[in-house]
C-alpha cells in the first residue's frame, strides 16, 4: 500500500488562505488503510479546518467527498457535476491521486497529505516501508528482504561497519537490513547467496531513468 501522513494544520490553513469554498476529497484506497485519507479522515479534517477558519473570522465552506480511488479517471468523473461550484480541491489521496485530479480539472488541486512510501501494516497504527519501486527486483537473492529499502545505505554486500546488535547506525528504531537478510539466508540454508559479488545496480529501471510508464500492448487498443 501507499502510505502517507497528514500535513500539519498550519500548512493546510496557509494553502487554503485564498479560498472560502472548497471540496475536501478522500480516497477509499490505500490512504483509507493507513487511516490518513479515507471517509472518516475527510470528516475529521473538514470539521477541523472549518472550526479553525471560523475561529479566525474567515469561515470556509467545505464539501466532503470520498471517491472510490483518485488514480482512475472513471472515479474522478464523479466530481464533474459539482466541481465547477468550488474554488479549489484539497485532496487527501496520495500524490498520484492529487496529480490525476489536477490533470482532469482546471482549478487548484492542493495536497493535504505527504505521501511517504510503499509499505505494509506491521500492526495497527504502525506502517513501515518495504519497497522502493526500483524496477529491478532481487528479492530472490536476499531471502525476500530488500537491500535497497531495508538497508539505509542500499548496500548489496552488507552489513556495513555500523551494524550493531541488529540495529542500524542511523537510528535504533531501524533494524539492520543486512542482519535480517543474513538471518533469513541462514534459515533458508541459502548462505551461498551471500558469497556472490553482485553487479552494479541498474538504476535506469527506477525513477533515476526518468518518470516511468508501463504499456501493455495486449490491453491497449
Amino acid at each position: 500500500m501507499i502510505m502517507g501522513t497528514g500535513k500539519p494544520l498550519d500548512e493546510l490553513l496557509s494553502m487554503l488562505e485564498p479560498y472560502n469554498k472548497i471540496i475536501l476529497s478522500g480516497c477509499y484506497g490505500c490512504v483509507t488503510v493507513c487511516r490518513v485519507g479515507g471517509e472518516k479522515e475527510v470528516q475529521l479534517l473538514a470539521s477541523t479546518i472549518r472550526l479553525a477558519r471560523e475561529t479566525k473570522g474567515e469561515p470556509i465552506e467545505i464539501k466532503e467527498v470520498t471517491l472510490e480511488r483518485q488514480c482512475d479517471k472513471e472515479y474522478l468523473e464523479a466530481m464533474r457535476s459539482y466541481i465547477g461550484d468550488y474554488q479549489a480541491v484539497l485532496s487527501i489521496a496520495c500524490g498520484a491521486g492529487v496529480q490525476f485530479t489536477a490533470e482532469k480539472y482546471n482549478l487548484p488541486i492542493l495536497p493535504g497529505i505527504n505521501t511517504d512510501f510503499i509499505g505494509v501494516t506491521e500492526k495497527q497504527g504502525v506502517w513501515a516501508e518495504r519497497c522502493q519501486a526500483c524496477g529491478d527486483c532481487v528479492l530472490h537473492l536476499t531471502g525476500g528482504i530488500c537491500p535497497v529499502t531495508r538497508c539505509s545505505k542500499s548496500i548489496f554486500h552488507g552489513p556495513c561497519g555500523g551494524s550493531s546488535k541488529g540495529v542500524c547506525e542511523v537510528n535504533k528504531d531501524i533494524e539492520c537490513g543486512w542482519q535480517l537478510i543474513i538471518d533469513r539466508l541462514k534459515m533458508l540454508d541459502q548462505m551461498e547467496n551471500y558469497t556472490k559479488l553482485h553487479e552494479m545496480k541498474r538504476w535506469k529501471f527506477s525513477r533515476d531513468g526518468g518518470p516511468r510508464k508501463i504499456v501493455r500492448e495486449d490491453m491497449t487498443e
Partner: protein
C-alpha cells in the same frame, strides 16, 4: 446526545458539536473498569484527550471538551458535574465562534433595520 457507550462517540462528533454552536462539550461515561463493553470509555477518554489538544491548536481552548466518569445510578453527581462545568465554561466565556456568529447576525439585524 445519548449513546449506548461513550466508545461510540468519535472525534468527528465532538468537533461537529462545536460547529453546531456548543460552548462546551461533556463526554459522560461509566467509571473506568466498569464499562459494559469493556474498553469503550477508555477509547473515549483517549479521543477526548486528542481532540482537546486539537481545540488548543485551533484556538478554541482545550478546556471546552472534557470526559467525566460516573456510574448509572449517580444522578446527583451528574447534575453536579453539569452545574460545575457550566460555570467553568461561563467564566471562560462563550466559544469564540459563537461570539463571531452573534456579532454577525447582530450587524445583519442592524442593516435590516436601517433598510
Amino acid at each position: 446526545m445519548i449513546v449506548p457507550c461513550t466508545g461510540r462517540v468519535d472525534e468527528v462528533m465532538m468537533l461537529r458539536a462545536f460547529e453546531k454552536g456548543a460552548d462546551g462539550v461533556m463526554v459522560v461515561g461509566c467509571l473506568e473498569g466498569d464499562c459494559h463493553y469493556e474498553k469503550g470509555n477508555l477509547r473515549a477518554k483517549a479521543r477526548v484527550t486528542r481532540m482537546a489538544a486539537l481545540l488548543d491548536i485551533i484556538g478554541l481552548g482545550s478546556f471546552r471538551l472534557r470526559m467525566f466518569n460516573l456510574s448509572a445510578g449517580e444522578g446527583s453527581k451528574f447534575a453536579q458535574f453539569v452545574n460545575e462545568y457550566s460555570l467553568e465554561i461561563a467564566e471562560h466565556g462563550p466559544c469564540p465562534i459563537n461570539v463571531l456568529r452573534s456579532n454577525k447576525s447582530a450587524s445583519l439585524e442592524n442593516i435590516k433595520r436601517e433598510e
